[in-house]
């Protein structure tokens, strides 16, 4: 029992240490952002590699989530004679929850791991030490542009995911299942509020982007410079980012709705 307690204390202390280190690292990144902003080419390159190169998986996932959402939604709503509200239900689910959350989880798996492994390999092959020896701070030159690129790319991908999801829901609900098209769009237009619904999704995706980007660059930068170390850092990136997204989603949802 005592051993278990000690282990729990040590584990918690480990998490606290990691949290503290990541916060200090965040301060270093934020201090390095002006340098990165003076070199927009570096940020654009990262928006391309984290955002544009993630488009295929985001578009396909959004589309299929929309299809399933319409199928399930129509099936359930028909029981209550409310099938015409399918457009509103699908859009609300996508813009408020599924868009930001699923995009963030996919983003952590696709772009987060790429960031962590790339920076980890740069550490393992002495590229970061080489920069330091050339009097160039790797946090400014490597980490900050990647962090900013990911923070910019994530909300854009979430918007694309939601748009593709709505398209999928329309295709399934209106074209295949036969829900009235006018009702589909009219209900959506009437029920989805820009500030309350769309923007809450955008805020969430910005926060998720921030969390995933920070954890990815932090794990990569602090990885042990071996093949195993980089592998572990990549795995930790996915696990920590996914958990962070889900926990933050609960906190943000409670805060945005105003009910806890």
């Amino acid at each position: 029992m005592r051993r278990l307690f000690t282990e729990i204390v040590y584990t918690l202390r480990g998490y606290l240490e990691t949290f503290g280190s990541s916060m200090l690292f965040l301060l270093r990144i934020l201090a390095a952002c002006p340098y990165a902003l003076k070199r927009p080419g570096l940020i654009i390159k990262q928006v391309y590699s984290t955002g544009v190169l993630s488009l295929v998986i985001i578009i396909l996932s959004g589309f299929f989530v929309g299809l399933v959402l319409a199928l399930q939604g129509h099936n359930t709503l028909s029981r209550f004679g409310a099938a015409e509200t399918l457009g509103a239900v699908a859009a609300l689910a996508l813009v408020r929850e599924l868009g930001p959350v699923v995009t963030a989880l996919l983003f952590a798996g696709r772009a987060g791991t790429a960031l962590a492994s790339e920076i980890g390999l740069m550490r393992a092959t002495d590229q970061l030490s080489g920069m330091e020896m050339m009097a160039v701070d790797p946090v400014k030159r490597v980490v900050a542009p990647r962090f900013l690129g990911a923070v910019i790319a994530m909300p854009l991908l979430a918007v694309i995911f939601s748009a593709m999801g709505i398209f999928g829901a329309w295709l399934e609900g209106v074209i295949i299942v036969g829900v009235d098209e006018g009702q589909f769009w009219a209900q959506m237009q009437a029920q989805v509020e820009l500030h309350e619904d769309v923007m809450s999704g955008v805020y969430k995706s910005i926060v998720f982007g921030f969390a995933v980007a920070l954890l990815s660059v932090f794990e990569g930068y602090n990885s042990i410079p071996t093949a195993e170390g980089v592998g572990r850092a990549t795995t930790r990136t996915v696990v920590e980012s996914s958990l962070a997204v889900l926990v933050l989603n609960f906190i943000l949802t409670a805060w945005l709705i105003g009910e806890v």
Binding site: T125, D126, Q127, S129, G130, E132, M133, M134, A135, V136
Partner: protein, 282 residues
């Protein structure tokens, strides 16, 4: 004996004769003591070799010299400035006058050969691109790779990557260049090229070169002075000729490449028979 020799040498020398002075350096990693009171004086304009068996901490010493890690105790002076007391900003200012060649070259894999060599210039100067191009091509020409300027690091052989890294290390016209095991993994032709380049560039550009290596023959052919490290201390120092004539058992073992001697072949282990029998019993 060697430390008293260094002190005499230090007193006899003019103050600015040494570009780097390491005084009473102590460093440990966990329980293992890597350096125990290391003293080294490096003369300006010379090629200085730091040699020693594997695991003696040669690369660690290089990292200490360049302020990448901090010692437990002692001073490391470069041009009179103590590296161990410097802030990050001061270290970066100093490193603009230092070049370093890593074991694997450490070229930035997302940049071409040309952009790798131009990297320090673009980061630290506001030179127009025409002048950057001129300097980069001059440095690449000096290492014989002007024709490879468009290639990416992944297309280069080990020897070529090392030469590109050398061009990058000297692009800011540094005062000192550190070489970390520059001959490891090179074929005889590439090794010969790198050996000659180190000497030639040192003399032509008036640099001070510090070469960390365990390749006795290659290093002895270009070094003006050699320091042999073992057990955390300098066990011998002098010109390559002095080292050859040194009768110390450690020096003789290292210079002649004998498998066993003061530096044992076997890592400390329990009795062989006892360990084998125990395993069989279990």
């Amino acid at each position: 004996m060697s430390s008293s020799m260094e002190q005499t040498e230090s007193k006899a020398a003019k103050p600015d004769e040494f570009i780097m002075v390491i005084e009473d350096l102590w460093y440990s990693r966990g329980q293992k003591k890597i350096f125990q009171g290391l003293n080294i004086n490096i003369r300006r304009g010379e090629v200085t070799a730091i040699m020693g068996p594997s695991g003696t901490g040669k690369t660690t010493l290089l990292r200490l010299m360049t302020g990448q890690i901090l010692p437990d105790r002692g001073r490391i002076l470069i041009g009179g400035e103590d590296v161990t007391k410097m802030s990050r900003r001061e270290l970066y200012r100093l490193r603009k006058r230092i070049g370093m060649l890593f074991q694997n070259g450490a070229l930035l894999t997302d940049l071409s050969v040309y952009d790798n060599v131009a990297f320090p210039l673009r980061e630290h100067t506001n030179l127009p691109e025409r002048l950057v191009r001129h300097i980069v091509l001059t440095k690449l020409h000096a290492v014989g790779l002007r024709g490879a300027w468009q290639m990416s690091p992944s297309e280069l052989s080990g020897g070529m990557a090392r030469r590109v890294a050398l061009a990058r290390a000297m692009v800011m016209d540094p005062d000192i260049i550190f070489y970390d095991e520059p001959f490891v993994g090179l074929d005889p032709i590439s090794m010969g090229v790198v050996v000659r380049l180190i000497r030639k560039l040192n003399d032509a550009l008036g640099l001070t070169s510090i070469v960390v290596s365990h390749d006795v023959e290659e290093v002895s052919s270009i070094a003006d002075r050699t320091f042999l490290i073992s057990d955390g201390r300098v066990v011998a120092s002098g010109t390559p000729e002095d080292m050859e004539q040194n009768v110390s058992a450690v020096v003789q073992q290292f210079m002649s490449g004998m498998a066993d001697g003061p530096v044992p072949f076997h890592y400390p282990a329990p009795d062989y028979d006892e360990q084998i029998l125990k395993r069989n019993e279990s």
